[in-house]
Symmetry: C2
Subunit: 186 residues, 2 copies
């Protein structure tokens, strides 16, 4: 899939891996350089800062997420399709999903410097799931459905375990989707 293993690509791959395992704050530039087999100075030839490595990693997934929500303003998706899309997004950017809301420093980076407020991205999802004239309890059910799509997708892919090619088993996907729908529907 990736054309060539340029140094830049290798760095991103290593960083994605280490960030997922140790967290963004818990991973040092030296850690990445060691895995890469070079010095920290060499890293700075390819990326101007540690934060830029993170931004490069998050750019695509964030864009996909934003695209989904923007599209929903024109043509609202039925809950089943929205939840399915959320599962797929979580599965695609598995490692990133782990990084994002586990590290306060990362949250800050995102909210500070990205086009959109991004904390309100989540709120948009909840609002879309809860429906137009949602009361408080409907909002809670929306949270429940969302929580299932995100967390159980990650859990299922960890369960699949060893080699598992970053692919979510279709049967698992169906089960997660149904569980989320049940949680949503009063």
């Amino acid at each position: 899939m990736s054309p060539a293993s340029s140094t830049k690509e290798r760095i991103l791959g290593i960083a994605r891996d280490l960030f997922a395992r140790q967290g963004y704050t818990g991973t040092s530039i030296a850690d990445i350089a060691r895995e890469l087999g070079t010095t920290t100075a060499a890293l700075y030839y390819h990326f101007p800062s540690k934060a830029d490595i993170l931004r490069a990693l998050l750019a695509d997934p964030m864009a996909a997420y934003t695209r989904l929500l923007d599209g929903m303003r024109d043509t609202p998706l039925p809950p089943e399709e929205l939840l399915g899309a959320l599962i797929d997004l979580a599965a695609e950017s598995r490692e990133l999903a782990v990084i994002i809301d586990r590290d306060p420093a990362v949250l800050k980076l995102i909210t500070d410097q990205l086009p959109q407020p991004s904390e309100q991205l989540n709120e948009q999802v909840i609002a879309a799931l809860a429906g137009p004239d949602a009361d408080h309890l409907a909002t809670i059910r929306a949270h429940a459905a969302y929580s299932v799509t995100k967390n159980v997708t990650l859990a299922a892919m960890s369960l699949g375990a060893p080699g598992a090619d970053n692919k979510l088993d279709p049967a698992d996907r169906a089960e997660i989707l149904h569980a989320a729908l049940r949680a949503l529907d009063q």
Copy 2:
């Protein structure tokens, strides 16, 4: 509830607050000292290390959690009661729940030095929810129910917002419980 506001207690209160907001790694001893109105050196009179502050905070909630699971080996609880208990535990130690699985450094601290392996505490819960002869999809449903109890409880209490006295609205609790049960039951 707390007898006197000894310095030790004040430190713990401030630390719980800051850890929840900035993460354990993201909070420095200096941060805590500033809030306390003293210097970092003063802090070290009360606690021998930063990790010890965290341990003091986690001791009670961890014990409660362990107690619940141990008790279940003798007399297994029906899913409804187990899920209810998990909601209550999450609500009681709201800030701590946030700290624990958001910071890899904290996970390490817990797994390293606590009596039980603790990563397997979660697995015990999943196993209990999935039932004795659970297949793969039943395990996924168990994850879904567990995810709802934990994450939606936290979300609901944040929603409650400002002053909210660390108390989970009974109506909210019921809604969370029902959503979790629906997610669990095929």
